[in-house]
Amino acid sequence: MAGSGAGGGGRSFSFKVVLLGEGCVGKTSLVLRYCENKFNDKHITTLQASFLTKKLNIGGKRVNLAIWDTAGQERFHALGPIYYRDSNGAILVYDITDEDSFQKVKNWVKELRKMLGNEICLCIVGNKIDLEKERHVSVQEAETYAESVGAKHYHTSAKQNKGIEELFLDLCKRMIETAQVDERARGNGSSQSGTARRGVQIIDDEPQVQSSGGCCSSG
């Protein structure tokens, strides 16, 4: 599990991404849209969208995404920290026709920054752009806000499958960057501390080469 896969190729990353947003903003449809073609049979059921995984290959780097959905109802608000701990990224979804849902996103951003600092990659997502006519959150306001908190803003429509691929791809690139910066900061040399930070696991692609006769590998 130690880092140090020399060169860029053949590396793999595991990231945890948490999905936050009020009920009815369409966060479940969003992630389902993204993952639906890649349903993993090993999941406990293919009929659910609470926990989904996706494998990507970005410039030779393999990425395993685990996407954690959270319950958006107010009554479950306080359970947030147990879900977003150890997350590398957060996708905060609001409905462009619902001003309140945007306020909720702002609260989440504040909370995430307070609890996890700047290491977590934040994506603010205005969903339902197919309902542009009923828009209640201005594009400029949302984008300015996102920039002010170091988040990136995206416009999506789960219904029309717009902007979703870009969102996840971009998020993955940012998380890889963060992981690599972090790895460098730790001194990319030796093994032990390279294991993981906040759930990033950097795994050698090749099976470990036995250096010499395995003395204690008998079953």
């Binding site: 406990i44 995984t53 319950a71 479950f76 359970l79 920290p81 147990i82 993981a196």
Partner: protein, 319 residues
């Protein structure tokens, strides 16, 4: 408690080799399982949390599906029986991994009962809550704790970890049901406990994440659970110093008119300037099971505790 720690070490040693791990589970955890259950039971009986869980199980059992927030289908009697059978097997297992496998099977049964749609956490959590209320909830509580303590943090990243987290959340939700203003904010007690657990179990927690949650005191502005701020308050810090921090955080222009209050369901008490809020908090956590809240508000208002009762006033402003 010692037994617990030893078991914890056993679990950790097993990392890396599933054979060694299984063997360790067998020699360490198998004989210890009942002892761990007994100690947890004893611990939770003494701190009152078990009674609270049972009480809330009863009161939530009387609620309608709408009141529980359930929008999907729920398991019928035969399906509930199948789920209960899984939970029994979960309780009998000593290996945390076997418990996890049973927990996932129970989740699958719940999803199957939800009328075959595609469901996210918004739908699943209320149904899970409904199911737990209908089961031997104390055993589930012990099992969830057992797994959360004995599974490696790295093992908690996958699907098993996700659902374990969800069960943990549902149990907390039940524990804190209707204890004042639960719709607005989980009780301080629960938050405290989640933070303590998080601090112990978060991967590399102390390397990069600022230590924000040590000695954190949650203070609300004007009324309980409104505009809550997390303020680092060491044990020796006085109420007067906390007030100074609050006056800046909330930007009040006349700080002399404000004070720090301890508000419970029925009372509101102004803290003396030289008192230590952290001590007050531990004392109040020990003394009554009702939730309490620190509120920074105008001093003239201390006689009138907010009479929101069960606090179901609709949230006017986002927290």
């Amino acid at each position: 408690r010692t037994a617990w720690c030893q078991a914890g070490k056993g679990g950790r040693l097993g990392q890396g080799s599933s054979v060694v791990e299984a063997a360790l589970y067998k020699c360490v955890l198998k004989p210890l399982r009942d002892c761990i259950y007994a100690q947890l039971l004893d611990f939770h009986s003494r701190d009152g949390s078990l009674q609270k869980l049972r009480d809330h199980q009863l009161s939530m059992g009387r609620q309608s599906l709408a009141e529980l927030g359930v929008t999907a289908g729920v398991p019928d009697a035969p399906a509930l029986e199948r789920i209960q059978a899984r939970l029994l097997q979960m309780h009998q297992a000593y290996s945390p991994k076997k418990k996890e496998a049973q927990l996932l099977k129970a989740c699958k049964l719940i999803y199957e009962a939800m009328n075959h749609g595609v469901y996210g956490a918004d739908d699943f959590l209320p149904v899970l809550t409904y199911v737990l209320v209908k089961c031997d909830i104390v055993s589930v509580q012990l099992d969830v704790e057992y797994m959360m303590e004995l599974l490696e943090p790295s093992q908690l990243q996958g699907e098993g970890g996700y659902y374990l987290t969800t069960w943990f959340g549902a149990l907390y939700h039940i524990s804190n049901f209707q204890s004042a203003m639960v719709t607005r904010q989980i009780s301080i007690e629960a938050q405290d406990s989640i933070h303590r657990w998080q601090r112990r179990r978060t991967i590399h927690h102390n390397q990069h994440i600022p230590q924000v949650d040590c000695d954190i005191l949650y203070v609300s502005f004007q009324e309980p659970f409104a505009n809550q701020k997390a303020i680092p308050v060491p044990a020796h810090m006085t109420a007067a110093s906390v007030c100074v921090v609050c006056s800046k955080k909330y930007g009040v222009s006349n700080p002399e008119a404000y004070g720090l209050f301890l508000v419970t369901d029925s009372t509101s008490r102004l803290l003396a300037e030289d008192s230590r809020p952290q001590q007050t908090r531990s004392a109040s956590l020990k003394s009554h099971s009702a939730s309490c809240c620190f509120v920074y508000k105008l001093k003239g208002e201390e006689q009138e505790a907010p009479s929101e009762g069960d606090g179901l006033a609709p949230a006017q402003e986002p927290i």
